[in-house]
Point group: C2
Chain length 319, copies 2
């Protein structure tokens, strides 16, 4: 049996920030990205795919707002919006992937699961919501929503428009629901799409009931946990750079091809990866290794078929 | 190994026409409906669930329209909207079902698949679109959309508002994608939620590529086909009456408990079930029997634990 790889498709893999978000754009980007998975499949990997949902769930939230305003249609809570986005994006990836496989004469089943991911309702993140979601409101609107729904807002200042934006917690994922099913399917050679958008965040209450958490889970952390839970060998985060850099965009910037656990942790603690975009990905990679994964890789989708590219993180350099 | 039953949850099972459509209403209705499945599970059935999506996808389409109007967010095509609704509704059913199972101390996995269902692009339904979807437009708006997007409209006259509504084809389902995976999971005892809203309609083009069909598939027909495809023994359509009636709401109305294939077909051809609501359900039941299913049942969810209720259709009366 081949190795299992979990591949997390970044936001840009499906929809770039400079695009309007039409379905044609999303389908073309997705097809281009998925083409690069063929090399992994030909090497015998069983694949489990996850994906971001930032622009899509952002649009779904805005549409909920607009639908209430114009047609008085009740808004759905965040958990339903995330689940909606898993349906739409997962279907799109599944269909495009079947067509890419067909082009390469590869006969494989592809299935898409709607995924819940369990978080701890006592996670400190619930006391400090940081993740911005949905539209930008005026001060008055924000105050009203805060009273009506208990939403928390932070000021947002952008070039084009400023105002107040809802923030929600980003708690740590602690359990991927249906991981056993995902593992079994992957081992049978089925390509599984799961944990989209980091999964729908839920928590288990004192009566063992599953309840929605109004939160979003980092998709790379959820993907890393899914990888560890199903006993995956390798974990790929596909992003918009071919390597991780130390001192990115500074004079002494340096691409790194190999990293061991200890060095990665040291560089991370010294802030050498930059806190904005790369550090959370590095943390997800480390988590995968800590929980038994053999190798985490960060690279561009378009570099996947050339093993020279990509930053490979392993427990020890000799691995 | 127990029998496999496919259970199709009707629109009312999740959201009634007289309700606003809040998430609280949907969750409560869903829980009430799912409680009734416990008797089937205790009898040893492996369950595959499907569901309608009428009110939900209607709302998603309206929100798409509103989102474009207020925020200029590109509208998603119908296939993505159906897939979105599968994600949101499937997640809700899965979570509520886990909680109902927990209440009854039953430990079972529940998974939700995003489902594509293949139709024939040469199906005559594509020449005669009949299924009304989305909002009611003015004559001018309808003309504009017809020119811009090729949409077809029919006049709609209602008590509260009149105008023009988009109609899409309702082709016959010919293949449930990933039926083998659904069968395997069900046989392992996992409860599978699939083919929601009749599935996302797709067709296979001359290059064997899978393309979206701007259509909707009858959810009972898709569910019946799913049942036959996975070798299910029984097929349940849960609706808002305890029995099928001959000459429904007429003076000689008569509830029927047992029907064989030949009598059902004869009554159907004589229009004795009424063409509006029940006849399509009857056709789905017959299709299931034709394709090898043993028994189709139409009843209310709340009557499921009492075998006295429900109209049972079998190939022969003695079955």
């Amino acid at each position: 049996m081949g190795k299992i790889a979990v591949v997390a498709l970044g936001g840009n893999a499906l929809l770039r920030g400079d695009q309007a978000g039409t379905i044609e754009e999303q389908e073309q980007n997705t097809t281009n990205t998925l083409e690069n998975l063929i090399s992994l499949i030909k090497q015998g990997y069983s694949l489990i795919l996850s994906h971001g949902n930032g622009p899509q769930v952002g649009n779904i939230l805005m549409r909920n707002d607009a639908g209430e305003e114009i047609y008085n249609i009740p808004q759905m809570p965040l958990d339903i919006c995330v689940a909606d986005s898993q349906g739409g994006i997962g279907y799109m990836i599944e269909r495009m992937l079947k067509n890419v496989l067909n082009k390469h004469n590869i006969d494989k089943e592809v299935i898409t699961l709607v995924s819940q991911v369990v978080v701890d309702i006592n996670d400190p993140a619930f006391k400090n919501p940081t993740k911005r979601v949905g539209k930008i409101y005026s001060k008055e609107q924000a105050n009203k929503l805060s009273e009506e729904k208990g939403w928390i807002f932070k000021e947002e200042i952008k070039e084009t428009v400023s105002g107040w934006r809802r923030v929600v917690p980003s708690p740590k994922p602690i359990q991927i629901m249906n991981a056993k099913v995902i593992e079994t399917l992957a081992k049978q050679g089925t390509i599984v799409i799961a944990a989209g958008g980091g999964g729908v965040p839920v928590y288990v209450d004192e009566n063992d009931n599953i309840r929605p958490a109004e939160a979003v889970i980092d998709k790379d952390l959820a993907s890393a946990l899914m990888g560890a839970s199903v006993g995956a060998d390798e974990f790929y985060i596909l992003t918009d750079v071919p390597y991780v850099y130390i001192n990115y965009k500074k004079e002494d910037e340096k691409a790194i091809e190999f990293l061991d656990y200890a060095d990665t942790l040291k560089y991370l603690e010294n802030g050498m990866f930059g806190e904005g975009n790369m550090a959370p990905k590095i943390r997800a990679c480390l988590q995968f290794i800590e929980q038994g994964g053999k190798k985490s890789v960060i690279t561009e989708a378009f570099k996947l078929d050339n093993k020279k590219y990509g930053t490979k993180i392993t427990m020890k350099y000799e691995d």
